[in-house]
């Protein structure tokens, strides 16, 4: 059973267990409820209340034209003399387009109707700066505006998660990212959680965490003997808050390490992150949004091998995740969506790579997804160094996900109306 282990609910139970090495848990108001209420773990939230969105960021700018290959278009081969994927290698999705040869697993899902590909997604007046375009995608702003909050942050602010306001359970979780993604930036404070911080290897992180726990635990234990002035001090406040985050850390790590997946995952870091997401979903976390990042897509030179490797990682990782969810009967609750800050230039450059471009396809995966191709393919009758013109605004994709999957009115989040797409099966 992958449910969260029952936890002590009284101080006496804690003190008894702490001698067995569980450690002292600060009973501060900041402690996430899912850690202290053993009853909650026994009665999971009803399925229909918990539709989950998993966002997968392809950081660096994924080359869309070699991801969904227009193998019948002579322009494609003209623009990419060395990088174009040969027609006979493409995994066909239709008479005119197909997937990169490394996407075998995703191709299988496509054939099963569980993978939707939204073609040629971008936005008006595209920006080709990594930093800025990523910001645009994460804040869902117009390219000439700037927003301080992310689209998921605004989703959280608008109390669309269905979680009680007082709950301190993590509403959004991010993995393998550079800290909290800008998509989560919000006007109000919401408990979010990060798994496996970047930097440092796992053993080092574990050592620090254990040592920190002991250090803070000692301070908290000593706190009982301190005066009121001290226990109200900033030092005390910090100890309690740090202790709470450490406890969340530890329990989440336990859920992840104690997880028995319904399928085997490839041994890549990305697949490991997807496995962790599955672990947390299976563990009964009421989290609605997960965010995983996969980097290395900025293929300015020598693209062929690098891109193939990334596609393999992406394809095998996503497919394993889907298979795992199905094995656990959780697939009805989860939709996974990829995004990237931009696609790449149709014409290849002098270094057998591609420069920053504009629009690109994105994947939407899940049992509730209407598989197949969506949107329209890009026009490729272009000169060297000309870029694609998008045909689907990424905010339409967001709007559809918000409205039809997360049951949240999209206009409040996105500021204006965007036409929705038919990427979900009839959800009546």
């Amino acid at each position: 059973m992958n449910r969260i282990p029952a936890l002590p609910t009284t101080r006496r139970e804690f003190l008894k267990r702490s001698s067995q090495g569980v450690g002292l848990l600060a009973f501060s108001p900041f402690a996430p409820q899912f850690l202290v209420q053993s009853t909650r773990a026994a009665s999971p939230a009803p399925e229909k209340d918990r539709s989950i969105l998993v966002l997968v960021q392809l950081a660096g700018g994924n080359d869309g034209l070699n991801t969904l290959v227009p193998f019948e278009d002579e322009n494609y081969y003209r623009l990419r003399p060395t990088l174009a994927i040969p027609k006979d290698k493409v995994l066909r999705a239709s008479d005119t387009v197909g997937l990169h040869p490394s996407c075998g697993a995703l191709h299988g899902l496509f054939q099963d109707g569980k993978l939707g590909v939204v073609q040629n997604v971008g936005y008006p007046n595209p920006n080709r700066s990594h930093f800025r375009s990523t910001e645009i995608w994460e804040t869902a702003s117009n390219s000439d505006e700037s927003a301080a909050t992310g689209w998921i942050g605004r989703f959280l602010d608008n109390a669309c998660t269905g979680m009680p306001k007082e709950s301190s359970d993590p509403v959004a979780v991010h993995l393998a990212t550079n800290g909290v993604p800008q998509s989560f930036a919000s006007a109000q404070i919401h408990p979010t959680f990060g798994v496996a911080a970047t930097g440092g290897n796992r053993r080092d992180n574990e050592d620090s965490r254990k040592l920190l726990e002991r250090m803070v635990g000692k301070s908290v234990a000593n706190a009982a003997s301190h005066s009121a002035a001290v226990s109200n001090s900033n030092a005390s406040f910090l100890q309690q808050t740090v202790m709470d985050t450490l406890m969340t850390d530890r329990k989440v790590q336990r859920v992840i390490s104690g997880y028995r997946p319904g399928t085997s995952y490839p041994a890549t870091q990305f697949a490991g992150s997807m496995r962790s997401v599955a672990a947390l979903i299976a563990g009964g976390l009421p989290t609605r949004v997960y965010f995983v990042a996969l980097g290395g897509f900025d293929t300015h030179s020598g693209q062929a091998n690098q891109h193939a490797m990334l596609m393999t990682q992406l394809s095998d990782g996503l497919a394993a995740f889907q298979k795992d969810l199905e094995a656990q009967h959780l697939d009805g609750q989860v939709v996974t969506m990829t995004f990237s800050e931009f696609g790449r230039r149709p014409s290849e450059n002098q270094s057998r790579g591609t420069d920053h471009g504009t629009a690109a396809p994105l994947f939407v995966m899940g049992s509730r997804v209407k598989g197949g191709l969506h949107g329209t393919a890009p026009e490729l009758k272009l000169e060297r160094n000309q870029d694609l013109t998008f045909s689907t605004d990424f905010r339409s994709v967001y709007a559809t996900a918000l409205e039809q999957w997360l049951a949240c009115p999209p206009e409040t989040i996105l500021g204006e109306r965007f036409p929705s797409l038919e990427i979900f099966k009839n959800l009546a």
């Binding site: 930093f131 000439d144 970047t198 040592l211 000593n222 030092a235």
Partner: protein
């Protein structure tokens, strides 16, 4: 809150006999970003007065000031011409040109932020940089609205230039800051409909505080400030034609008042003496307000000194109250201090990449030049929640991990190469600082680490010592393991509650 000193005694200078390494450490941690060993020794030996003169000089020499980044200088020179050219374009071309300007502003702002961090990280510049940051929390502008990085730079330059001189001169200069004129809509003020935003914030947030002026004072002052305009290139101009020349009555005085006259009049109000001292205490001494009598006493001294800001700083940081035991290690570091303190503690260079600087700062809740609103940053416990604690911990890990150049994009690599060619290459923590520690026994090493990184207070230091000693000792005689454990011990210390305090 009851304090160790009466209002009369609180601001008297700390006796020479009380000045030592411990008090020096407290001063450096509060006045700057951290207390490095060499700086502590120097301050302890030269005495408090000399140290204060050095940290808060009456005049900041030109070479020590934060100079305008080259990219911004070029931007400022060309922006007016560019705007004029753009005005002649139409339709799509014009939109494209405007977007290009916006992009350049955005990039310029990033550049400005990173360059400011590099400047503020220099130990000689730290105290003035932090004082400027403090003033920027009073005279707030946000790049979110102002956008033009040259104007933002000029605003900060005003704060740095006038920040240790007479406060009325600072306020007058700020009223002419193009960024301020734009931020508080002063540039929108019309003869027939004077905009009250600036006048209100001038009294409420810069000089007097709520309750110390009337609505009539605001309305009349707004009239006095008509004619203030900011140019597209980020400079200020005064437009006589749209200035209301009629008589106004502010704080009971009538005359054809102009902006400067209103400011002078405001400084004659009793509340002017205590407003800024109260902010200084809140920023540098304690988030919990100290008793009004103590603030009033400091205010009286400040008024006597002609509202000289350098004098205020030197009296404040030289006072008995500042060194009272209840204030040691009691304040929560703001993200910028956490970051720059870390850089200084580990003798690192600022990596000129957003992902090493601006991204972590934003996740910790303090993106430079982007205070959340006109009141500035709240500070204190507001800096701390599960996400920001995680961000602080991650920043430490980031700076202690070797730079993974494969994960960088082309722009970042470019910046890195440029920095290295200028002699900056210590972006992450190497084993070097730990080599001397590896020669000590675990107990000594533990003490060395805690004494370096933790501010005194509530015995947190002693608690850490034993645990660290055992952790380090677990490496036995294995050299590699010893080094690894020393590094881990340092990382853990910097992630601990104690390191978040100053």
């Amino acid at each position: 809150m009851s304090l160790s000193f009466t209002p009369q005694d609180a601001w008297k200078p700390l006796p020479d006999s009380a000045w030592n390494a411990t008090t020096a450490r407290h001063l450096l941690r509060r006045a700057g970003w951290t207390a490095r060993r060499a700086d502590v020794d120097r301050s302890a030996s030269e005495g408090l007065t000399r140290t204060l003169e050095r940290l808060f000089p009456t005049h900041v020499a030109e070479p020590d000031r934060f100079s305008m980044p080259t990219m911004l200088a070029r931007f400022e020179q060309t922006i007016l011409t560019r705007q004029r050219e753009n005005a002649r374009l139409t339709g799509d071309e014009r939109l494209r040109a405007q977007r290009e300007v916006q992009d350049r502003m955005r990039v310029g702002l990033q550049e400005l932020s990173i360059k400011w961090l590099e400047h503020a990280a220099q130990p000689e510049a730290s105290a003035v940089a932090k004082w400027t940051l403090f003033l920027a929390d009073v005279y707030v502008v946000s790049a979110e609205k102002v956008r033009n990085p040259a104007a933002v730079y000029r605003h900060f330059d005003i704060l740095a230039t006038h920040g240790l001189g007479p406060a009325p001169a600072l306020t007058k200069a700020v009223s002419r800051s193009a960024a301020m004129v734009f931020y508080l809509d002063l540039g929108q003020s019309q003869l027939r409909a004077p905009n009250e935003n600036f006048a209100r914030e001038l009294f409420e947030l810069f000089l007097l505080g709520e309750g110390n002026y009337t609505e009539a004072d605001i309305k009349e002052s707004a009239r006095a400030f008509t004619g203030y305009r900011s140019n597209a290139d980020g400079t200020f101009r005064f437009d006589e034609r749209i200035h209301d020349k009629g008589p106004k009555t502010v704080f009971g005085e009538t005359g054809p008042l102009r902006g400067d006259d209103v400011i002078d009049s405001a400084y004659r109000q009793p509340a002017a003496a205590t407003f800024l001292p109260r902010e200084v205490a809140r920023y540098y001494l304690s988030e919990t307000p100290i008793p009004e009598e103590h603030v009033a006493a400091l205010g009286a001294i400040w008024r006597e000194r002609g509202f000289d800001l350098g004098a205020l700083a030197r009296v404040f940081f030289g006072s008995q109250l500042f060194y009272a035991p209840e204030f040691r290690g009691s304040m929560i570091k703001c993200p910028i201090q956490f970051y720059l303190g870390l850089i200084q503690d580990m003798d690192l260079h600022i990596a000129p990449l957003p992902r090493f600087t601006l991204t972590p700062l934003r996740q910790m809740g303090q993106l430079p030049f982007h205070p959340p609103n006109v009141r500035g940053w709240v500070g204190g416990r507001q800096w701390i929640n599960s996400a920001t604690i995680a961000a602080r911990r991650q920043l430490v890990e980031l700076l202690f991990s070797p730079l993974d150049e494969k994960s960088l994009n082309a722009d970042e690599l470019f910046e890195l190469v440029a920095a290295r060619s200028n002699g900056f290459n210590r972006f992450t923590v190497s084993d070097e600082p730990f080599a001397p520690l590896a020669k000590l026994n675990p107990a000594e090493a533990a003490v060395a680490l805690t004494r370096t990184f933790l501010a005194a207070g509530e015995g947190t230091v002693d608690e850490a010592d034993g645990l660290l000693r055992d952790f380090i000792a677990a490496s036995a005689n294995d050299e590699t393991q010893r080094l690894r454990r020393l590094r881990r011990a340092a990382v853990t210390l910097m992630q601990s509650p104690g390191y978040q305090l100053c």
